[in-house]
Structure formats: structure tokens, C-alpha cells
């Protein structure tokens, strides 16, 4: 009982501190002014192009956001960050971009397509294997000796991270046993629904796939940290709503959802 109260109190304190942090991030004056005024009603539809590893967390966050803002609609376009970057660069309509690496955000920043990106979360990678780990994969080194290993395409962030991890561990998988997925979800599907024996994907994807795969963690020495930036697009149609969504993603409520899906705090 007592501990329950303490936990609640601590959680409240945490929420309070987090909201102070958010206010600070939003710019102290603007935030307090906003609190005094009745919140302006947000309406319209924004398109959020997000890295496919954000699929589950963002779908949940989007639903929460829509519930809080009845007139607002969030349309998601999930795909590999590199595909989304290419789409946006070639004029695909989007209001918010959330990438699984800094590279693709930087490309759009350099192209003058996005404004002031902020970090929304971080992630790590893991080995995914079939349930019960029939091939007894224990480490990165074991990947050189199992059947087919699924990795993301080399342009896709998770593909680059996987290459870094393999290089750091000094492991070389024969090219004719590497199948390349077009994004992290497709890569994991090769294990969960197909005949690939292992994949290198994000910790969050293994968790999202529930019992269809099993995770084998990668030691810190070899692992890498994926940084997820988010930004509104310049020239988007509903800039106000887009900014509100970005702010919401960085709010404590959304951060808790991200954390529950296995993401690390920014």
C-alpha cells in the first residue's frame, strides 16, 4: 500500500518535472501564455512520414493525439527513412518527417525541406531469431554460421547500423546468405514469416513482433545507438497542427508510450 502511494507520488513528480521540461523546450514564455489562454482548436489532416520502426509507437501516439484533438487527423506514411527522404525530396506531400537516423534528416535539412529537427527517441539493435532459437544463435559471430540472415538494405538506416555492428564485431557473413529487406519490418518478416534464420533489427521491432520471433541481445561493445530526429516540413499544409504533433511526440505522455515500446529516452 505504502509503496503504491510512493510510486504514484514519484510518478506524479516525474510527470511534473517532465512537463516543466517540455515547457522549457517550448520556450518558457510561450508555454505559460498558452496555458493561460484557452487552447486553440487544432483541426485538419497532417501526413506524418515516419521510419517503419516507429509504426507501433506512432500509431498509438497518433490515436491519443486524435482523441485529445477531435478535429485533427494524423495520416501515417511508414517506410524506410531513406525511402521517405527520397519521396519528400521529390515532392511527396508530407508535414512531418521522423527518421531512424540523422543522415536522412540532414539530407532534407541541407535541401531546405525541414526546419529545426529535434530528437524524439533513441533505439538499439538486436538479433531476431525464430521462436525457441532452433539455430542456437548466441552472438553476432554465430550469424556467420546460420542459414540465411536478413539485413535491411544498405541505404536503409537499420542496414547501415547492421553493417557497423558486423564490422565492429569483425564478423563477415557470406553475401549469398544475406537477404536484404526494403525496410526493417520487411527484414524482420523474413524471419517471422519466412525461412530466414536470423535478422539484425531494432530492439523495438523484436518487442513489437511479440512471440513470432525471439531476441538475442547484442553486447554494448558491438551495439550502436540509433538516434531518431523529428521535424516539420517547410511548406507543409497544416504547419500549426504539424508543430503541435511534433510537440506532442516529445511530451511526457508520448515519451511514456515510446518507452513502453522499447525506445530509449532522447
Amino acid at each position: 500500500m505504502l509503496s503504491g502511494v510512493t510510486v504514484t507520488a514519484r510518478r506524479r513528480l516525474g510527470t511534473a518535472m517532465a512537463s516543466v521540461l517540455v515547457m522549457a523546450l517550448l520556450g518558457g514564455n510561450a508555454a505559460s501564455a498558452e496555458l493561460r489562454r484557452p487552447r486553440p482548436k487544432l483541426s485538419g489532416t497532417v501526413t506524418v512520414s515516419a521510419a517503419s520502426s516507429l509504426t507501433e509507437a506512432f500509431t498509438e501516439i497518433g490515436a491519443k493525439f486524435e482523441k485529445a484533438n477531435r478535429a485533427a487527423h494524423i495520416t501515417f506514411n511508414f517506410g524506410s527513412s531513406s525511402t521517405l527522404e527520397l519521396q519528400i525530396e521529390q515532392g511527396a506531400p508530407a508535414d512531418v518527417f521522423a527518421s531512424a537516423d540523422l543522415t536522412n534528416m540532414d539530407k532534407l535539412l541541407a535541401a531546405g525541406k525541414v526546419a529545426s529537427p529535434a530528437i524524439l527517441a533513441r533505439n538499439q539493435l538486436e538479433i531476431a531469431v525464430k521462436p525457441a532459437n532452433p539455430q542456437h544463435v548466441r552472438s553476432i559471430a554465430d550469424l556467420a554460421n546460420v542459414g540465411v540472415v536478413a539485413l535491411c538494405a544498405e541505404a536503409v538506416p537499420c542496414g547501415k547500423y547492421a553493417n557497423q555492428i558486423l564490422a565492429r564485431a569483425g564478423v563477415k557473413i557470406p553475401p549469398d546468405r544475406i537477404t536484404r529487406g526494403q525496410d526493417v519490418k520487411a527484414t524482420l518478416t523474413a524471419v517471422s514469416a519466412g525461412d530466414a534464420d536470423a535478422a539484425i533489427v531494432y530492439v523495438t521491432d523484436v518487442r513489437a513482433a511479440k512471440s513470432s520471433v525471439e531476441g538475442v541481445s547484442i553486447p554494448e561493445a558491438h551495439n550502436t545507438v540509433a538516434v531518431y530526429p523529428i521535424a516539420t516540413l517547410i511548406g507543409g499544409s497544416h504547419l500549426k497542427l504539424a508543430k503541435a504533433f511534433v510537440a506532442y511526440v516529445r511530451s511526457s505522455a508520448a515519451q511514456r508510450i515510446l518507452e513502453r515500446h522499447g525506445f530509449l529516452a532522447p
Binding site: S80, S82, T83, L86, G147, V148, A150, A153, E154, A155, V156, P175, D176, R177, I178, T179, R180, G181, Q182, A186, T189, A190, A193, G194, D195, A196
Partner: protein, 298 residues
């Protein structure tokens, strides 16, 4: 034997003429559609038809050709990724077409000539891959032929055969999506053949195989060529079922369309070059088909 397999009677009863060169049924009662004497086409049709030709066909083609990195074309086409993809695409699509012919012709024969219960159901089943999204087809293939699939599990455990992540899986996926095109075309061709020619051959003492090789096949050839070409083109362009079922391993299952899609992000020039290769092959086949095979048979 012919007693068990009844011929579809309609063509016999109407006293139809032999099929024309296109293998289309030449109906005795309906005249061939000809343009109106004045050759007049309503303006609206010209506008809509012209717009369709422009927007759906000419512009995308122009976009591809306009972005082509002509100066690096040769280097790109001979790069390892391109060579592997090209080789795989050609081998797999030809094998898939061969499979489609070997299995598709008897299937079309059955659908066209045999009268059995559930024929409509069988036809619907055969045509399903035409309308099914290829990715769904890939998942279906996985459920049937993966190492844990309905048949795949047995194939792997008993015989050590694995289609997934293997070139044979690409052939299987391509044949799966391509065969309906052949079956449909050949079935239409078979229905258009006047069975009295075969009957006449039979009265002259020709056995079943002789009748097939020397009579039926002669009439069927244009449909067969057209069906095979359609199936081959479909197999060559196959993407969804292939990447889902056979994976994407360079040199083993990464065909041209897969390479185009994945190179688009790393090397757009190479992706466009590969697209042009696909385009050139398709155009070459269309031209060849028209002038050589179909033309010679006309």
C-alpha cells in the same frame, strides 16, 4: 478416351468458320467490326484516348528516358549488381515461362475441352494470381512452400528441398503469377479452334497425339506464342511475390525489378539504367513477336 472428355459443343453446332489468324473465334453470324465508312471518331473519344496515351504511357516513358544517365550506361549495365540481376532475371523468367507452358497448356486444355463439375471454380482458382496483390501471393506461397509450410515442411524434411531464398523460389513465384496469362490466352485459343478439323484428322486415322501435334497445335500456335509472351513479360516484371517468398539475395534471388527498387536509394542512376534494360527487353519482345512469330503465321 475422347468419350470421357466431351468437347464443348457450341462451336460444332453453330457451324462456325475456321479461326482467323489472330486465333479469335470467327463467328459466322457477326460481321467483323470495321471502322465506319467515313472513319469518323467522336471528338470526345479522340481527346480522352489521346490524353490517356499521353498521361499513362508517353509521359512516364519520357520521364524515364529523360533521367537516363546515358554517359554511364555501359559502366552501369556491366556493374556486378546489374550483371547478376540481368542474368537472374533472364534465367528465371525463361524457366517460369517454360513451367507455365508445360503446366498451363494441359490446364487450359482441361478448362476448354473437358466438361466437369466445378470447372468454373477451377478457372477462378487458376486466374486468382492475376487479381491477387503479388505480396499476398508471396505470403500464400510462403504458407505453402516455406520450410514450415503445408507442403514445404515435408519437402524440406524428407527431400531437403527448399524454395525460399533460392533461385528456384524465384522461378516458382514468377510461374505462379505468370501462368494465368498463358492459361487464359491458350484456353481462348483452344475454344476458337473448329474441332471438325480434329474430327476429320481422326477419320483419316490420326491418333490422339498426331491430331494434337499436327492439327490442334497448328491452330493454337499464335495463342500459345501470345500467351507465352504475356506470361514471360509478367514473370520478368515480377516483384512482390518474389521479394516476399524468395527474398532478396544478390546473385541468387535479386532479379532486375528487385535491384531497381533497392538501388533507387543508393544509386538512382543505376536504378534507372536497370529500368531501361527492362524497357528495352520488353520493347524487343513486342517487336519480335509481332514481326517474326505472329507475322509468319498470318
Amino acid at each position: 478416351m475422347s468419350g470421357r472428355v466431351r468437347r464443348s459443343g457450341s462451336l460444332n453446332d453453330t457451324g462456325s468458320l475456321p479461326p482467323d489468324a489472330d486465333g479469335m473465334p470467327a463467328s459466322g453470324t457477326r460481321a467483323r467490326t470495321r471502322p465506319h465508312p467515313g472513319g469518323r471518331v467522336p471528338l470526345a473519344v479522340v481527346l480522352v484516348g489521346g490524353a490517356a496515351a499521353l498521361f499513362f504511357f508517353a509521359l512516364p516513358l519520357a520521364g524515364l528516358l529523360g533521367r537516363a544517365p546515358w554517359s554511364r550506361l555501359v559502366d552501369d549495365v556491366t556493374s556486378p549488381v546489374a550483371r547478376d540481376a540481368l542474368r537472374l532475371s533472364l534465367i528465371c523468367s525463361v524457366c517460369a515461362t517454360a513451367l507455365a507452358v508445360v503446366f498451363g497448356v494441359p490446364l487450359a486444355w482441361l478448362l476448354a475441352r473437358a466438361d466437369f463439375r466445378g470447372r468454373a471454380l477451377v478457372r477462378a482458382l487458376v486466374l486468382l494470381p492475376m487479381v491477387l496483390p503479388p505480396v499476398v501471393g508471396g505470403v500464400a506461397l510462403l504458407r505453402a512452400f516455406s520450410r514450415t509450410g503445408l507442403v514445404g515442411e515435408w519437402l524440406y524434411d524428407a527431400l531437403g528441398i527448399q524454395f525460399t531464398f533460392h533461385t528456384s523460389g524465384v522461378v516458382l513465384a514468377e510461374a505462379f503469377v505468370a501462368m494465368p496469362f498463358l492459361v487464359l490466352t491458350v484456353e481462348a485459343g483452344l475454344r476458337a479452334i473448329d474441332t471438325r478439323y480434329e474430327d476429320a484428322a481422326a477419320t483419316l486415322g490420326a491418333g490422339q497425339w498426331t491430331r494434337f501435334w499436327r492439327v490442334t497445335l497448328r491452330f493454337l500456335a499464335p495463342s500459345l506464342a501470345a500467351g507465352a509472351a504475356l506470361a514471360w513479360a509478367r514473370a520478368l516484371g515480377e516483384f512482390g511475390a518474389t521479394i516476399t517468398f524468395a527474398g532478396n539475395i544478390q546473385g541468387r534471388t535479386e532479379t532486375l525489378p528487385l535491384a531497381v527498387y533497392l538501388q533507387l536509394e543508393t544509386n538512382q542512376d543505376l536504378a534507372i539504367t536497370l529500368s531501361l534494360v527492362l524497357l528495352a527487353i520488353s520493347v524487343a519482345v513486342l517487336v519480335l513477336l509481332r514481326d517474326r512469330w505472329l507475322g509468319a503465321l498470318r
